[in-house]
């Protein structure tokens, strides 16, 4: 049941309309009250948080090793269809950049390359 309610709210949120979302929440509350299931609310909220966290991981993002690489990385990622609003700095990349969106990854970082070479050389 929790899954079903969560999906309903998710679908309402996906419409992008605050009004639709508000109606969905109100109607769900009424339904839960009438069926005596109000105690499910914390679990539904927990599920929604999980969904939101997962969606957050799917958002377009570009990481660069240093700020000066950001413009080039953003435009290169855009060529692959990953349009991130800004690049975050991740010094562990050593050099280069990587971009991720919705389960797709482009890894042009020196860290990835070095790890790859290390494995090839040491095996």
């Amino acid at each position: 049941m929790i899954d079903t309610y969560t999906r309903l709210l998710e679908a309402a949120a996906e419409t992008g309309s605050a009004e639709v979302a508000q109606v969905a929440v109100t109607k769900l509350m009424m339904h839960l009250q009438s069926s005596g299931r109000v105690n499910m609310l914390p679990q539904i909220v927990r599920e929604l948080r999980k969904v939101a966290a997962y969606r957050h991981t799917l958002r377009p993002r570009v990481e660069v090793a240093s700020q000066k690489e950001a413009p080039e990385a953003l435009s290169a990622a855009a060529e692959f269809g990953i349009h991130a609003p800004e690049a975050t700095i991740n010094p562990s990349l050593i050099r280069g950049w990587r971009a991720q969106e919705n389960g797709r990854l482009i890894d042009h970082s020196a860290k990835h390359a070095l790890a790859h070479i290390y494995q090839k050389v040491t095996v």
């Binding site: 991981t57 562990s92 389960g103 990854l105 482009i106 860290k111 390359a113 070095l114 790859h116 050389v121």
Partner: protein
């Protein structure tokens, strides 16, 4: 040092960033060797994935333990996938990046694997460095169809008189070895591998011994024995010890079959021993329950029969057009309290082309190998026997079965007529003749000569309790004084009239000499 630097520089210069995008997922949760992964919506069933520890850690930290951890996708679900972890599950953490490898579970194979001990992923575990195997093959594949196969007709000698005479195994056959623990199942398989040393190099099968869920000490002992007896020259050992994850134990037989197929497709003969499939079934049950697949009989999943049938179907004798190679399978199943009607034993019995059934009672009585002739069978039968063996073994099986009946009857009656007494004596002698110590497989020509002596009355004057000692003397005598006859049998694979005449003369001389000494 310079060469290392050069190699690294070469690798750095050769590196180009991967073009395009790759599909990745993240570990949502992990436990009991199973990882739930979000994403990877396009991943295929049985595809390999790589858990990447370098993605979200600084390089120096990640490279402290750079060994890759692979996963095998076994459940495709609405909101993600589940994979079994083929390595140390404790290194997998929530949020870890998972990369698709775009290939089904594969292992490197090649001639260089001969003489090596590897794990089911093809990685060496014998401390002798890389295997050098280059060709990558998927471990799951469809078995050859009817058109590609030829009838099983060439014998695979085990060197065990009882098996070669009564339950002959052919190249390309699947013969189950079944029995309780400690009844000598592994010994039969080991002796069969050791006996291939007696085969001419050109037709000697490449042997693959797959140890599933065994104690590492036991596998080490077997490898040491193979090495000491020179059997590692044509043997590959695949080991998935009891301490390995269930997924590795489940994969081990498939890895063995893949290696065997490689040699079969080159037109060679290969022999693969699965020791044992009951442990593989238990490992698969564990994995299936953790993957939340519905349990069936004895809590095994519904596809447990398919697990074994698709594995054993890969044993084949290929047609001439396909190179004429063969893959013989000797699966082993351990029964509980002699119960052959349990789920896994009945499944595997129905899949294989016969079974060698070993009994605890016979083992305790001192019979080696403790084969119950009555319910052991080879469905390929005499088609996979040399003419020589066919000629000498003739009715042994029937006579032994009759002897067992009479032996049971004898316990209630002490007054026996002469014919019955003679039959019992003959049965006892034959049982003793078929007794054979572990680790001493005989060349087939020697087996044929000894059985010939026993079935033609040359040992009738020897008391049953003295048979073993006399047989040893006979073997020495034949090797010393009848070498030409043995060579003739080995080369022609039959006992021709002139060979038979010469053999009879030698046996008569032996009997005479034997009578003089006693």
């Amino acid at each position: 040092m310079q060469s290392i630097i050069e190699r690294i520089e070469k690798e750095i210069n050769a590196w180009v960033p991967e073009k395009g995008t790759e599909e990745v997922g993240t570990v949502r949760s992990t436990g009991d060797g199973i990882a739930e992964i979000s994403g990877l919506s396009k991943v295929a069933m049985s595809e390999m994935v790589l858990f990447d520890p370098t993605f979200d850690r600084p390089l120096a930290e990640a490279l402290k333990d750079p060994s890759p951890i692979y996963g095998l996708i076994l459940n495709l679900e609405e909101d993600g996938v589940r994979a079994v972890i083929l390595g140390e599950a404790s290194k997998i953490y929530e949020g870890m990046l998972v990369r698709r490898l775009g290939r089904l579970l594969s292992i490197p194979i090649g001639d260089s694997l001969i003489g090596r001990v590897i794990n089911p992923l093809g990685e060496p575990v014998d401390g002798k460095g890389v295997t050098g195997a280059k060709e990558i093959r998927s471990i799951e594949r469809e078995a050859y169809g009817v058109i590609d196969r030829a009838p099983v007709q060439v014998p695979l000698h085990t060197g065990i008189k009882a098996v070669d005479a009564m339950i002959p195994i052919g190249r390309g056959q699947r013969e189950l070895i079944i029995g309780d623990r400690g009844t000598g199942k592994t010994s039969i398989a080991i002796d069969t591998i050791l006996n291939q040393k007696n085969e001419p190099e050109a037709t000697r099968p490449i042997c693959i011994y797959v140890a599933i869920g065994q104690k590492e000490s036991k596998t080490a002992k077997i490898v040491a024995e193979f090495s000491a007896r020179g059997a590692m020259e044509y043997t590959i050992v695949v080991t998935a010890p009891a301490s390995a994850p269930a997924a590795i134990q489940f994969l081990a037989p498939f890895a063995g079959a893949t290696i065997g197929e490689y040699f079969m497709e080159q037109g060679k003969d290969a022999l693969v021993v699965y020791d044992d499939l009951s442990k593989q079934a238990v490992a698969y049950r564990q994995m299936s329950l953790l993957l939340r697949r519905p349990p069936g009989r004895e809590a095994y999943p519904g596809d447990i029969f398919y697990l074994h049938s698709r594995l054993l179907e890969r044993a084949a004798k290929l047609s001439k057009e396909k190179g004429g190679g063969s893959l013989t399978a000797l699966p082993i199943i351990e029964t509980q309290e002699g119960d052959v009607s349990a789920y896994i034993p009945t499944n595997v019995i129905s899949i294989t082309d016969g079974q060698i059934y070993l009994e605890t009672d016979l083992f305790n009585k001192g019979q080696r190998p403790a084969i119950n002739v009555g319910i052991s069978v080879s469905r390929v039968g005499s088609a996979a026997q040399t003419k020589a063996m066919k000629k000498v073994s003739g009715k042994i099986k029937l006579e032994l079965a009759q002897f067992r009946e009479l032996e049971a009857f004898m316990q209630f009656s002490s007054d026996l007529d002469a014919a019955t007494k003679k039959s019992i004596d003959s049965g006892r002698r034959m049982t003793e003749i078929l007794n054979q110590d572990r680790g001493v497989p005989l060349p087939f020509e020697m087996e044929a000569a000894i059985i010939f002596a026993a079935t033609n009355g040359y040992l009738d004057r020897v008391a049953a309790e003295d048979i073993r000692a006399v047989e040893t003397k006979l073997q020495e005598y034949l090797s010393r004084e009848a070498g030409g006859i043995l060579v003739a049998i080995r080369e022609s694979k039959e006992i021709r009239e002139e060979t038979e005449k010469a053999l009879r003369e030698k046996l008569e001389a032996f009997v005479e000499r034997q009578l003089k000494t006693t």
